[in-house]
């Protein structure tokens, strides 16, 4: 891959030679950067500047902070209350609620919509995020009309993880690109469980077996807090499995 990396702090000058250019494609700025007209590109957070020449994109890779909603992110929210035609859903403690219309579920009509009690969890996609408005969610794909795995989460347990880990877990090839193999390894040990990862730093783990859920949760938390690499994750998984038996 044609990527280069460099530490940047907010307001640092970016060396023009690092900025990818392409004859036709416009430059795409990812998170952590802002464009100051006419021609300045400045970082806004501390992190690693990543330039992808193939996609002509530039972004800052960082971890930490509070989740800021952005369109088409998958998130896990908690229903706070129900209004006439929508649910108020909390994505993040101490932040304003997002809204989830009652009809934004697969095949939902006035009569068949899912009934969610306050405190219930939903796995949803962000359909609208705008700095001047509260975010909006949907549990159904607007194009296919199918749930595609979204919807209420029943049973199981929810664990808080860092935003960075959530991002890595959601990567298409999380083991190779994100260096995270803990879930895979636990599955290989014969544990049966399902997960849902929210970009807002939450993981839902469901299983018939309570022990399994506790174990998966501990493995994730420990990987996150101690910053374990794939080898260490293997050791951790083996240790936890041994403890359980």
């Amino acid at each position: 891959m044609t990527t280069e990396s460099l530490l940047v702090l907010p307001g640092d000058e970016i060396d023009p030679s690092l900025i990818p250019t392409h004859k036709k494609n416009p430059l795409r700025l990812g998170p952590g950067l802002r464009h100051v007209p006419p021609n300045h590109i400045l970082p806004t957070v501390a992190g690693q500047l990543v330039a992808d020449h193939r996609k002509t994109s530039l972004y800052v890779e960082y971890n930490g902070g509070r989740y800021i909603p952005s369109v088409s992110d998958l998130v896990i929210g908690q229903v706070t209350r129900s209004a006439a035609d929508l649910y108020y859903v909390n994505l993040n403690p101490y932040t304003p609620n997002a809204s989830l219309p009652h009809l934004a579920f697969e095949g939902a009509t006035k009569k068949t919509r899912p009934q969610l009690a306050p405190g219930a969890l939903v796995y949803a996609r962000i359909s609208l995020a705008n700095r001047h408005m509260d975010p909006e969610l949907e549990c159904v794909s607007a194009t296919t009309g199918k749930a595609e795995g979204l919807g209420p989460l029943t049973g199981g347990m929810i664990f808080d993880i860092s935003l960075g880990l959530a991002r890595r877990l959601l990567m298409a090839r999380s083991r190779e690109a994100g260096g995270i193999a803990v879930l895979e390894l636990l599955g290989a040990e014969g544990l049966a469980f399902e997960t849902a990862v929210g970009r807002n730093g939450k993981v839902w783990v469901g299983s018939e077996n309570t022990k399994t859920v506790v174990l998966v949760g501990r493995a994730l938390k420990e990987t996150d807090e101690k910053g374990l690499d794939v080898e260490q994750q293997k050791k951790l998984v083996q240790k936890l499995i041994k403890q359980m038996r």
């Binding site: 403690p93 405190g119 969890l121 347990m157 929810i158 506790v214």
Partner: protein, 293 residues
Amino acid sequence: MPREAEPSLNERQFVLQALTENLRLDGREFDKYRPLELTFGDEYGVADVTLGKTRVLAKTSAEVTVPYVDRPLDGIFTIATELSPMTSPAFELNRPTETEVLLSRLIEKTVRRSGAMDTESLCLVAGQKCWSVRVDVHVLSHDGNLTDAACFAVVAALRHFRKPDTSMEGGVLTVYTPAEREPVPLSWLHSPFCVTWSFYGEEGEIALLDASWSEEQIRVGSCTISLNRHGEICQIAKLGGTPVEAVALLQCTNVALTKVKEFSTFLDKKLAEDAKRRDKGGLMAELSAENDR
């Protein structure tokens, strides 16, 4: 002021289910504390206590002031526990929440009202001059069991503290600055500690020690027992919640005693280590004004 997040239904259900299967989310046993750590600051009377992810900083300070009119022979001893938004954005300054009031009441009862410090020794001139000792408790991070951590920090800070030395000559009171005379420790009588149990289940039949924040959120009752290592109970507070069997409470008290003994030994060890660190060239032994109690 944003409201504190409530646990989701799934969490409530799951944590209870796990507890009935003898499991805690962090893999601890029911009567195990999270790792307790204590560091003293460079100054006297600063104790930084971490209990898992809960972190409390206590700072002791003293100044000479006028005693209360109704207690001319006593010094002044105050413990200030104010929760700042650092603890959680749900706390607001100058607007005490229930958590804050309960915390300060429990620590007050445990440390001040149990006579852990000899307040009469703080009197300098009857009715005119006395020491005012103040402990400020700063909760830096709240992940459950604030009471036990804060109480431990307060006791540690007070035992570590040294107040400026004073002398009375011909009716003239002199307070020596640290540069003139080595400060002296407070006159300390006994070290009480808090042990908090959290109860779960319909009849509170499941009892947990050192509940984390998420566990605290769904408990049906709690009981804080304060005692010293001699087994002398300073206070027991069970503020509402589901009724608990008397026999179970007795059992809780017994376990609390063993925990308090552990705390006590741990604190003594840390204080000794710190004294060694400060002891430059063995001068301290000669300068020490401590009397054996």
